[in-house]
């Protein structure tokens, strides 16, 4: 059976070049970077090279690249940024500002911090998922010690006006963290230009291995480590470094940096064509997220009158892999907080589909996707009480007219 992955945000294959770069560090260069003898030399150098490569991807080349702390996931990087900063800066204040559409690795920490006595403001977003810099400015108090707003949203793809948000933060001398996990490798990042104080990213979002991620920390930002022990990673993350994974992260960052424009343009062109095809062939679709300012590989749509898990299962049977923000697809049985924050009516949130493309995606697959989603939507609509109600109301309206 033909299979088409439209869920590359969840997972992507490791690039062959990345894998080849990693392999020697499992066997040949297995040494511990902390060793004083010769076995530690190559791994130690490899770590620093990986830092330089990640630095290149985020515009930290030169003076700041040593400020990249390797972690095991973007979730961990986000935890180090938030918990680490507030723990080290408690005396300055107790207020944190973030947004209502952050990843759970930010939102759930903020809930814990609230229980510990911190004040948290979650900024709302507009119907496209954008945070308003003026609302950020209005939310700042003399107690605010940290602002954390994502660069782009992994679910709806909306890219935030990060530069403006950072300016607001810095006018008030407040450090700014951004979760750039969804953005890194897909849109240009430049920590020098934006002046961002901390930035999280993960290798698995740009063809690196799972379990390799990083937090950029600007010089002068004080953090308390989450994991204490040895003085690896400038004392901010104890434990022997996962050298092969970090080498993979570095190489993936280098490749992503090299091909960023070409890759993003190609993938966004396919995405636009897929979107056009779907909206042409299937009635009652709704686009979620920003119409223009969105990640190149992200398409999020709601199929009106049907539920996402049923769509996902039917598409899975046709070999098309997608994800959904419906409550039935979540373990917690709650529909996506991101779609909720956009003010999307519940029936549209239930019918949401996240289609995320990768560099493997091909234009040639578009007719197969369109045809199958069309069929599946028709089939499920045919058994949907909401659809029949809609048809009835349409007929009633026609009669009235």
């Amino acid at each position: 059976m033909k299979t088409i992955n439209l869920d590359y945000t969840a997972a992507a294959p490791v690039d062959q070049g990345v894998l080849q770069a990693m392999i020697p560090f499992f066997t040949e260069h297995y040494g511990n970077p902390s060793s004083g003898h010769a076995l530690g030399e190559t791994p130690r150098r490899a770590l620093e090279e990986a830092r330089e490569k990640v630095g290149l991807l985020i515009g930290a080349e030169g003076v700041d690249e040593k400020q990249i702390i390797f972690t095991a996931s973007a979730s961990e990087a986000n935890n180090l940024a938030l918990k680490g900063l507030v723990a080290a800066n408690k005396k300055k204040g107790n207020h944190i500002i973030s947004s209502s559409i952050e990843h759970f690795s930010v939102l759930n920490q903020l809930k814990s911090l609230q229980k510990e006595g911190f004040e948290v403001t979650l900024l709302p977003v507009d119907r496209h998922g954008t945070v308003d810099p003026a609302q950020l400015a209005a939310a700042i108090t003399d107690q605010t010690i940290l602002i954390s707003i994502q660069t782009a949203n992994p679910e709806i793809g909306t890219i935030q006006p990060v530069e403006k948000l950072i300016s607001v933060a810095h006018e008030n001398e407040i450090p700014f963290h951004t979760d750039a996990a969804a953005a890194a490798g897909w849109i240009p990042l430049d920590v020098k230009k934006t002046g961002v104080d901390m930035l999280s990213l993960a290798a698995d979002q740009f063809y690196g291995p799972k379990g390799a991620a990083a937090l950029f920390v600007r010089r002068g930002i004080r953090l308390r480590p989450l994991i204490e022990g040895g003085i690896q990673e400038k004392g901010l993350r104890a434990g022997t470094e996962n050298v092969p994974a970090i080498v993979g992260l570095g190489e993936a960052a280098r490749l992503a940096y090299q091909s960023l424009d070409e890759r993003s343009q190609r993938v966004s062109a396919i995405r636009d064509q897929l979107k056009a095809g779907l909206f042409k062939e299937i009635p009652h679709l709704h686009l979620n997220g920003h119409p223009e300012k969105r990640l190149p590989r992200n398409l999020n749509i709601s199929v009106e009158f049907v539920e996402g898990e049923a769509l996902l299962m039917r598409l899975n049977m046709a070999g098309i892999y997608v994800s959904s923000g419906s409550s039935c697809t979540s373990q917690a049985l709650k529909s996506s907080h991101v779609l909720g924050a956009l003010g999307l009516p519940p029936e549209l949130a239930q019918g949401s589909l996240l289609l995320s493309l990768g560099k493997e995606s091909s234009k040639e697959d578009i007719p197969y996707i369109t045809e199958n989603l069309g069929q599946v939507s028709g089939l499920l609509r045919n058994m949907s009480p909401l659809y029949h109600q809609h048809l009835k109301e349409g007929n009633d309206n026609a009669r009235v007219q």
């Binding site: 898990e309 299962m313 039935c328 049985l333 009516p345 239930q350 058994m383 949907s384 009480p385």
Partner: protein
Amino acid sequence: MPEYSEKVMEHFTNPRNIGEVSEPDGIGEVGNPVCGDMMKFTIKVKDNRIEDVKYFTFGCGAAIAVSSMVSEMAKGKTLEEALKITNKQVAEELGGLPGNKMHCSNLGADALHKAITDYMEKQKVEAGSSS
């Protein structure tokens, strides 16, 4: 995607009795889009038996399979028998449901029972008006 039994997948793939019976004798609607599942059952009753039963369902794989199974279980049963169909029986007939999907089987049984009580109440009204 949750781990569904073969029986659930079979009913999800080939759901039986979709639709609305013409001139229904009883209608039962449950759920709403907020919780993610909605079902509308319609029944045709003859000689105290469910002669025909159809449904429309908005919901996940489990909700669709439950609707299909409930319709099969109810068809041909007397109203009293059909009222005794429990959510537990529905889940059992489907070879089990994942823990967080058990509420779907509640909805299916509820929607059927609502359609039956709707019919019974209409009968009472008719009996009342004719006397």
